[in-house]
């Protein structure tokens, strides 16, 4: 079996769960096995997952995600049901849980995979960027289960069906009392760049902190959110939560506009799977143009106000 570990965030099913189910099904088909889901969270959400064509949903009922409790409980489950492949989200929760689980099971774990394949020999190939996105490494695991964390928004998502399949089976919790969650402060969704459909990012080419005012204005006009390169964050121009790239967030919006970002490999690795990419830069040789669909050459302080005007004029013309 392929076992995917679903994720809950503030009582909601995290979207990475659907990515994992989608990818899990594809792999399971190739090795002619089924897909189970282990879900840490509430019963209502576990019930919802029955609409996604899974064989079984194993529920670890829990109000709060505690890594140690999750790892112990899932380790017992895995020893019982013996899946060949275990997929976990390469999210902050997943990357905190998965290594503990892998150590308990004394098996290999590949981090933050962007591609998973079964080759003609039936081997499970785990593909991930390494060395700051400079190389793509293909990794195999010689122990069972073969475990991988999977990057958000790179796999094809599973779709909901009206009919239900499978059933919920409860997992015996292994309570952990050395850790307590005292408080939880939600981050505004608008600020969450990983969920945004449109991202306008600013980089070193802005030249000053104030430049982000223009980026923000541009983002507001297009209904997007503001992203940033590492350089802009390191210089204190904008908060780390906006950082796109390997040391920040990986994003895959419908539209990514890079303004004054030359495009280090680390930055490119964090945004190159965006559906459409526009780059605004003075330097024609900037690496960002290697991943862009559309480029605009020149001074961004001249270009962006013109683009804002054009968008507003277009909207007026179309009466919206």
């Amino acid at each position: 079996m392929v076992l995917i570990v679903g994720e809950e965030r503030q009582e909601k099913i995290a979207p990475i769960t659907y990515d994992l189910i989608g990818e899990g099904k594809e792999l399971a088909e190739k090795i002619e096995e089924g897909v189970d889901c282990a879900y840490i969270g509430n019963r209502k959400n576990a019930g919802e997952l029955l609409h996604y064509g899974l064989d079984r949903v194993f529920l670890l009922e829990s109000d709060e995600f505690i890594e140690e409790e999750g790892a112990s409980s899932l380790a017992s489950l895995i020893e019982k049901i013996k899946p060949t492949i275990v997929l976990i989200g390469a999210t902050n929760r997943g990357r905190s849980l998965a290594p503990r689980l892998a150590v308990k099971l004394e098996t290999g774990l590949t981090a933050d995979c962007t591609g998973l394949e079964i080759n003609e020999k039936g081997e499970f190939l785990q593909i991930r960027p390494a060395f700051g996105g400079n190389v793509m490494a293909t990794i195999v695991t010689k122990t069972l289960p073969k475990m991988a964390t999977v990057r958000y928004k790179v796999m094809d998502r599973a779709h909901r069906t009206d009919e239900k399949s499978g059933s919920i089976q409860d997992v015996e919790p292994v309570p952990y009392n050395k850790k307590k969650i005292l408080n939880l402060y939600p981050i505004e969704e608008r600020g969450d760049i990983t969920e945004a459909e449109i991202i306008i990012s600013g980089g070193k080419g802005l030249g000053k902190k104030d430049g982000f005012k223009l980026i923000e204005e541009f983002a507001n006009v297009l209904g997007g959110v503001v992203g940033a390169s590492r350089k802009a964050v390191d210089d204190g121009w904008i908060d780390y939560s906006h950082q796109v790239g390997l040391s920040g967030r990986t994003v895959k919006p419908k539209l990514y506009i890079a303004c004054g970002i030359s495009g280090s490999v680390q930055h490119l690795a964090g945004m190159q799977t965006s559906e459409h990419i526009v780059a605004i830069n003075e330097n024609e040789a900037a690496p960002i143009f290697k991943v862009a669909d559309v480029g605009i050459l020149g001074d961004l302080y001249e270009i962006i106000p013109r683009l804002i005007d054009e968008v507003e004029e277009y909207r007026k013309k179309m009466g919206s």
């Binding site: 400079n134 005292l182 939880l184 559309v294």
Partner: protein
């Protein structure tokens, strides 16, 4: 309080260190420096030492002998002691074997708190910190952006995608820290000189009492079977502002 900081000696400047022909890392070239994320771990340990009495900071790294340069940096910054885990048998370790080896050494040292950077810039797995905690059978909190309280227990702020959590955790424990936690200081020239001459303690397989089958390549369940350069996908089309609007229309953004 005994604090152990885990340090990964990493190649300086990842772009230069990759062979264009083979796509593999040219480890011989260039110096090994402290993994940039680990600087935040070292800084946080020093900040604790400045505030509390009787704090001893040990920096620990698993690397080839030339990894001592990173530990000298740690000494210059303010670590009291450093240990380099180095042995031919440690080479080729994946995150499981690395976590096991580091955990064994940390256990031997004795500790109250282990601090790690949130990940390394070269491997980028973020797996070794939580892996060490599991081998040591202690609690861990990853992605810590602030320590709010530190006494018998600690309270930390954990950064997740959708929220911050305040987590209370008993000691001993392990935390991995993010870039938000502090602004790492630079070492003074005097301390740099002192660190240059310092003797770096080294431990090998025998000091740790590990079996060769548990370390390095032999103790690693994963293998890299292929490396390739990432392929960039397309030809860029240069446009003006009218062209930009046309594209947005075609992509159904407008």
């Amino acid at each position: 309080m005994r604090i152990v900081v885990c340090i990964k000696p990493t190649p300086e400047g990842s772009e230069l260190a990759i062979s264009p022909e083979t796509g593999t890392l040219e480890r011989e070239k260039g110096d090994l420096i402290i993994n940039p994320f680990d600087l935040y771990a070292v800084e946080e340990a020093i900040k604790i030492k400045e505030k509390q009495k009787e704090v001893e900071i040990t920096g620990i790294a698993m690397a080839p002998p030339k990894g001592d340069s990173a530990l000298r940096e740690a000494l210059a910054l303010g670590c009291d002691r450093t240990i380099l885990l180095t042995d031919r048998e440690f080479a080729g370790a994946d995150t499981l074997a690395t976590s096991r080896t580091l955990a064994k050494a940390i256990d031997k040292l004795g500790f109250d708190l282990v601090i790690c950077g949130m990940k390394s810039t070269d491997g980028d797995t973020a797996q070794v910190g939580p892996g060490i905690a599991e081998f040591l059978d202690i609690s861990h909190v990853s992605w810590v952006s602030s320590i709010l309280e530190l006494g018998e227990k600690m309270v930390v702020k954990q950064m997740l995608e959708d929220c911050y959590r305040e987590v209370e955790v008993g000691l001993p424990c392990l935390i991995t820290v993010t870039k938000e936690i502090n602004d790492p200081r630079l070492p003074s020239f005097k301390n740099k000189l002192k660190a240059k001459k310092a003797e770096i303690e080294t431990w090998g397989l025998e000091n740790l009492g590990l079996n060769p089958q548990e370390c390095g390549l032999k103790g690693s369940p994963t293998r890299v079977v292929k490396t390739a350069h990432p392929s960039y996908r397309k030809e860029v089309e240069f446009v003006d502002e009218k062209g930009f609007i046309e594209e947005l229309e075609e992509w159904r953004i407008l």
